[in-house]
């Protein structure tokens, strides 16, 4: 299936979850905020949430800022 991650198209295997996507991208779940189609997901549910074709994901984190 195809999803958009941070503005980039990306194809994932069926059954992919947020957790598996983060693992694939080598990102720590606890440091990453995930917005899916305008909803921000709770960190605890990253394992359950299955991605769907056409999902638009924003993977965001806090960085240094003034």
């Amino acid at each position: 299936m195809n999803v958009t991650v941070n503005g980039e198209k990306r194809s994932l295997d069926a059954g992919a979850t947020v957790a598996s996507l983060l693992a694939e991208l080598d990102l720590k779940p606890e440091a990453t905020v995930v917005q899916r189609n305008d909803d921000v997901l709770e960190r605890t549910r990253y394992g359950e949430v299955e991605l769907r074709d056409g999902d638009v994901l924003e993977l965001v984190r806090f960085v240094g800022g003034g």
Partner: protein, 261 residues
């Protein structure tokens, strides 16, 4: 100074120095600055993960939510709408509903857009956020923001990162005179003396970032700003003397020796 807390939106803080976390060369240097500053309000930004980079340092590891109010800014937003979305995203990500509202459409001087800032402030206040808006030193705008319910105003002393000091002093003075909410001088403070000057003028707090990141010894500079900020506050409360045109002798002008009567 616990007898003289800074109160924002009903919450008390013993430190009047807020710091930003940008541009530090390493997590350790940031940790040193955070530690030495004694700051209780620390700003962070929200950015997309760079997928090409993979995992990087996690800024949050340098902060302790128990001791620090982590204040997300809306840097990167060019419109009220974008700023509101960033604020909500930060809150949804688990931070408290506080936001440093920062709307800087123009990249060279990064000056805040008063109109969009006011517009965003109205929305965010209605949404229940504690809003700390970054603004130019415009006393009329400061009043408008107070009227829509922001928790503070944060007028700039000089452009972000310029280290030029309180160049807007004439207007900051007016804002302080007219404001009923805390005035936090933000941006442009490049030396402890700048922070002290702002506090001596009666500012309630200051926010510093670049001056700390610029330093060779980040921890030492953070300590210096903390001391100077407190010194300026103490002096403001202790009642300063007037500026004088002529001299006023500090030694007696009578009882000189060698005078015969």
């Amino acid at each position: 100074m616990t007898s003289d807390p800074l109160v924002i939106a009903g919450r008390s803080f013993s430190s009047r120095l807020m710091i930003g976390t940008g541009k530090f060369p390493s997590s350790q240097s940031l940790r040193d600055a955070v530690e030495a500053s004694g700051s209780e309000i620390i700003t962070v930004a929200l950015r997309r993960v760079d997928l090409s980079k993979g995992e990087t340092d996690d800024i949050m590891s340098a902060l302790d939510p128990k001791r620090h109010l982590i204040l997300p800014n809306t840097s990167g937003a060019r419109t009220a709408d974008e700023a509101v979305r960033l604020a909500k995203l930060a809150r949804a990500a688990g931070l408290e509903p506080w936001v440093k509202l920062e709307l800087t459409p123009e990249p060279r001087y990064l000056l805040p857009d008063g109109l969009e800032t006011l517009r965003a402030a109205e929305i965010l206040v209605k949404e229940g956020f504690v809003v700390l808006p970054y603004i130019q030193a415009d006393p009329i705008l400061a009043k408008r923001l107070e009227e829509v319910g922001t928790a503070t105003v944060m007028p700039l002393g000089a452009p972000i990162g310029s280290n030029r000091g309180v160049r807007t002093r004439d207007l900051i003075r007016i804002i302080i005179e007219q404001s009923n909410i805390p005035v936090v001088v933000d941006a442009g403070l490049g030396a402890p003396s700048h922070a002290a000057e702002a506090m001596e003028m009666g500012a309630d707090a200051v926010l510093v970032n670049t001056a700390l990141a610029d330093a060779a010894d980040h921890g030492a500079m953070a300590k210096a700003f903390a001391m100077a900020t407190e010194a300026g506050r103490i002096a403001f409360r202790a009642g300063m003397g007037p500026e004088r045109d002529a001299a006023e002798a500090s030694s007696p002008l009578t009882g000189f020796l060698f005078d015969s009567k």
